[in-house]
């Protein structure tokens, strides 16, 4: 359990901005270990420490990125090479939406062109699939009147 908590805390530290992580992550991890070792407050501390780490992560990323970059003769400029958490989130959202699109296209194709996706009963049982009958719930169109009947109605 303790190693899992440590792993989770390390993952949180890895998501911090590079500059902050390089300066403080080792000390933070050391304090995390020390506080977990402290028997007096072990029960309540682990959750508190993880929450504290997440709060620090949010604070560090939410801060405006006004950095005092060191310049030497206007040629050297420090580049922040950290991968911010919001970019990971954006990438995750893009991947998730692509998967959703593919799934909905697959569902649409399987309904519109049933012959393409007909599965035999054995496979359906193996893959725990059920047929979705959307069209059966739609109202059936009224039968069209013949032109002769229409004419008879007009004459009346």
């Amino acid at each position: 359990m303790r190693s899992f908590l440590r792993l989770a805390y390390r993952a949180i530290l890895q998501l911090h901005p590079y500059a902050f992580r390089a300066e403080f992550s080792e000390e933070m991890l050391w304090i995390f270990d020390q506080q977990l070792r402290d028997k007096k407050s072990r029960d309540s501390t682990s959750a508190h420490l993880l929450f504290d780490g997440v709060r620090s992560l949010v604070t560090q990323h939410a801060k405006p990125r006004i950095q005092h970059t060191e310049t030497v003769n206007r040629y050297y400029c420090e580049i922040d090479s950290s991968l911010p958490a919001f970019r990971f989130t954006q990438a995750g959202m893009i991947v998730l939406s692509c998967l959703c699109c593919l799934f909905s296209i697959g569902l649409f194709v399987s309904m519109m062109i049933p012959k393409l996706t007909v599965l035999d009963a054995a496979r359906q049982k193996d893959w725990l699939l059920t047929r979705v009958k959307i069209f059966s719930s739609l109202p059936t169109p009224a039968p069209q009147r013949s032109t002769a009947n229409l004419r008879a109605g007009v004459n009346r």
Partner: protein, 117 residues
């Protein structure tokens, strides 16, 4: 020409406790946490995240600096932090501000009369 009288913005509780902890001696991160816990008698606990968020801010403001290595015990690789003169001034102005609030509060509470007297 008007004289500009700039008062420093109030410190957060965490920053105040960190400066208070460093007022007497140089401490490393865990030492600061323990000192804060001792000062507040366990009533105020900060985690490493809050500690280093605030320490970074205080270092940027030049209230706290890294203590030189010569002042540490040999074989101790941990970073020690030291309160600067600017930090001391900020701490004392914050204490003055809190003191004036306490005085004002005590005065008001003493002067308060019951409504239907």
């Amino acid at each position: 020409m008007k004289k500009e009288h700039k008062t420093p913005p109030p410190l957060s509780s965490a920053a105040l406790y960190i400066l208070l902890a460093l007022a007497n001696e140089d401490l490393h991160g865990y030492g600061i946490i323990q000192e804060i816990s001792r000062q507040s008698e366990g009533g105020y606990r900060i985690g490493p995240g809050t500690l280093y968020d605030n320490l970074k801010k205080l270092v940027d403001q030049k209230f706290v600096v890294d203590a030189p290595r010569s002042s540490r015990t040999q074989g101790d690789d941990r970073r020690f932090y030291r309160l600067t003169a600017t930090g001391k001034a900020a701490l004392s102005s914050e204490v003055d501000r809190l003191q004036s609030i306490v005085l004002e509060a005590q005065l008001r509470l003493r002067e308060r009369k019951p409504r239907n007297a």
